[in-house]
Each structure stands twice: as structure tokens, then as C-alpha cells.
Symmetry: C2
Subunit: 215 residues, 2 copies
Amino acid sequence: MTLKILLADDHKIVRDGLRTLLEKHDDIMVAGEAEDGREALQLSRKLQPDVVVMDIAMPDLNGIEATRQILSEYPGIKIVALSMHSDKRFVSEMLKAGASAYLLKDCAFEELITAIRTIMKGKIYLSPGIAGVVIENYIKRDSAGEASVFSLLSEREREVLQLMSEGKSTKEVAAHLHVSIKTIETHRTNIMTKLDIHSVAELTKYAIREGLTTL
Amino acid sequence: MTLKILLADDHKIVRDGLRTLLEKHDDIMVAGEAEDGREALQLSRKLQPDVVVMDIAMPDLNGIEATRQILSEYPGIKIVALSMHSDKRFVSEMLKAGASAYLLKDCAFEELITAIRTIMKGKIYLSPGIAGVVIENYIKRDSAGEASVFSLLSEREREVLQLMSEGKSTKEVAAHLHVSIKTIETHRTNIMTKLDIHSVAELTKYAIREGLTTL
DNA sequence: CACAAAATCAGGGTTCCCCCGATTGTTTCC
DNA sequence: GGAAACAATCGGGGGAACCCTGATTTTGTG
């Protein structure tokens, strides 16, 4: 039985590398590649992969949101999170979103194979080094109300914020999400009110700090 | 003869520490403190210090611009640059702006005293570790056209960009700089054209990358 | 000195942003 | 199970921002 895998990473060279490495294994097939979170969602619907290898930092829809949405539609799909950072916010949010594995990008490739094999048995796989973060977080148990973007903003609002901080205008965001400009304006107003931030510049900085977009 | 010093750093706790340490020396007097570049410029006019200890990353007007403007009015004032980064762009721009010393913030305090004494003799003082960057830069001699904000934008444009990326509206920037809104609009248009960036979000990211503002 | 670049400002038209309000559906909670 | 809170959707109107054209003054450079 062959494993169908979907690669989601915004850097083509990374996808190329992963695809080549993965396809050396006879029982693994890379069914498709997505260059942003939204495409990952669409291709998940179309291809019904067994596993999605998902970068966290991606334009349009980030890996965490994409994971959330894919799993809400297809709880059977396994997600392997790939990240450059061991930031505890990312780790815990990704796991909360339902990812089955969390790997750091500086790990050896063989670890990805190990992770995939592990999660296909229904277990969770974490990069060495990530485990510590998880334990730490478990102990603190979200005690210190971190009041981050994930608790303050709704899913839709985070989506809008990410698109805005990627440089899209209200109009473009509206077109992108297929809703009216007025809707996006309301979202933006709500976001700004909730965060008590009232300029695009500072909103962008906030989004960068929270990992919704990158420099 | 007592040395009159002006401290310019946006963190009060840093200024407090430096002031205390500096005033242990009988021949040194901290004449004033500025919390941003513009205040540094104003206090330089008012106090006519011998030395300005200048942080690079400051709101409103950054340390590099402030240095440039102070020295254009008072070439006799000595500037000691204090920075968290050994980024070669900052070093070379700060030296081009006319700073007499460049210190990293993780240096020992005694080094600041050494630097001040050195520059009062008319010499240049560089943090160990910075020297290498300078030499490197000297060898490359700005060869690879780095096309940074410093060559592309005018002084005034950088000022406007910094204020914008700090979250100020066009109106606020205009009021702050005592010019008409139309002037700022022109600057903004020119900045966006020169950089080929057409949203406040991406402009903010650019400003962060170039060190004009911080997260 | 001539020329270029930078900084300043204006008018006018278009678009966008912001403050009000409104509807519908979902979740939560007593 | 209805009240309450939240989420997502849209609209009007007024002020702000944006874009284009054009103009003056100062500054700097060959």
C-alpha cells in the first residue's frame, strides 16, 4: 500500500528536495505540491492524501490555519508540521490544530521518514528538542494568559490580518476571499479594536511578531 | 575641565544605568537625556555637549539620521554610537554619518569610558569585532551595489518612511515635521515609486529590514 | 553658472478608510 | 430552550488617503 503525500511549502527548492528524497522510498508517492496554505487546502480536497507535510510560515494562509481547516474537513489526514522555529507558540498552536508531528527544518531528512512512519501508526512524533518545549508548556498549562493572536482573534480575522500584512489592500483581500469589501472593512475594524492597534504599520509589526507573516 | 555628555537612548533604564556609571567619573557630567533622535538633536542645540552617546535604533529619528544632522550643525560634537548589532550597514552608515566611535551594547562599561577618552583626543574608537567589519567593508569598498535605503532614499524621505512605519498617518507625519500634508504625500509617493513598494504593510517590513524601525 | 535633484505646496478626482448600524447563524450558558 | 455573546456578512456617509499634474525654491554638483 502506497502512501500519498502532499507537500506544502512556499519555497519550490525545498519541495523539490523533499520530493526527490521521499520518492526514493517505494511505498511513498508525492501526489502534489502546494505553495501556500490555501492551495494545500484545495489540493487536500482534490487529492485526499494520507499525509500533508506542512511548512508553518506560508503566504496567503499559514500552515497552522491550513492544518485547522484541512482537519475539520478530513480528520483522517495526518499532518507533519515543518518549521524553522522551535517557538513554543508555534509548536503548541500547531499541535492544538491537530498536527501529528512537529519537525524542525534543520533535522536530518531521515527524521521525516521516521516521523511519517510513526504517525501512520497513530502515534505522535516530535523533533528532539521540541519535546522539551511541549513539556514546559504542559507544566505551565497556558497559565500565564498569553493573550496572543490565537485567542484574541477569530479564525477569519487571523486570515484577514495575514493577508493585510502581506500587503494586500482591503479590496484585494475581499476579492481573494470572495466577500464584499464591507465585510473586510468590518473585520479590520474588529481586529484593530481587539488589538488596540490603529495603523497598518503597527498591525504589520504585530503580525510579524505573532508569526502570521514574515519579513 | 569637565566633559559634558548627552545620552540618547529610547530605554530609560539604559540611560539610568549609563548616567550612574558615567557620573562616577569626576571629570564627566551627564548634561541631559534624550529618548529619541529628534530630542537628541534639540538637546544638542540647547546643551552644546562635548559628546553624545547615541543609540542607533530610536523612534522618530534614528541615531544615524540624528548624528548626520547634529554634525551638520555642530561639527565639533563627538558622537559615540551604541548598537546592539554589528550589522555592517549600520556600522558603515554610522561612520559615514561622522560618528567617532562605535560600540556594541554587550561591551563592558569601561569600554565606553575608554572610547570617550580616545575620541576626545581626536581619534576614532571601534569595538573589537567591529574593526573586522570595517576592514571588510573597506576591501569591498561598497563594491556590490547594495542599493539600500541609504542610497535610494533622500534624508527627508528616510525620515518620513521611519515615521510612517512607526504607525503615524500622513496627517500626523505632516504635523510632526511642520509641513503640509501635500508635502508628505509627495514624499510617500516618491518613496513608493523608488522602492517599487505599494502598500504600507510591505513598506513597514522594508523599514524593519533596513533598520529604520523595530518590531 | 547651468543643470539636476530635493523639498516644498496646490488642485481635483478617485478610491479607500472609519464610524455608525443591521442581519443572520452559531455557540454558550443558566 | 430562550437569552446572550460571538462570528460573519453587508450598507451609507463623511473624512482621509491616494494619484496625477504642475509649480516654486533651495541645494548641490560638474
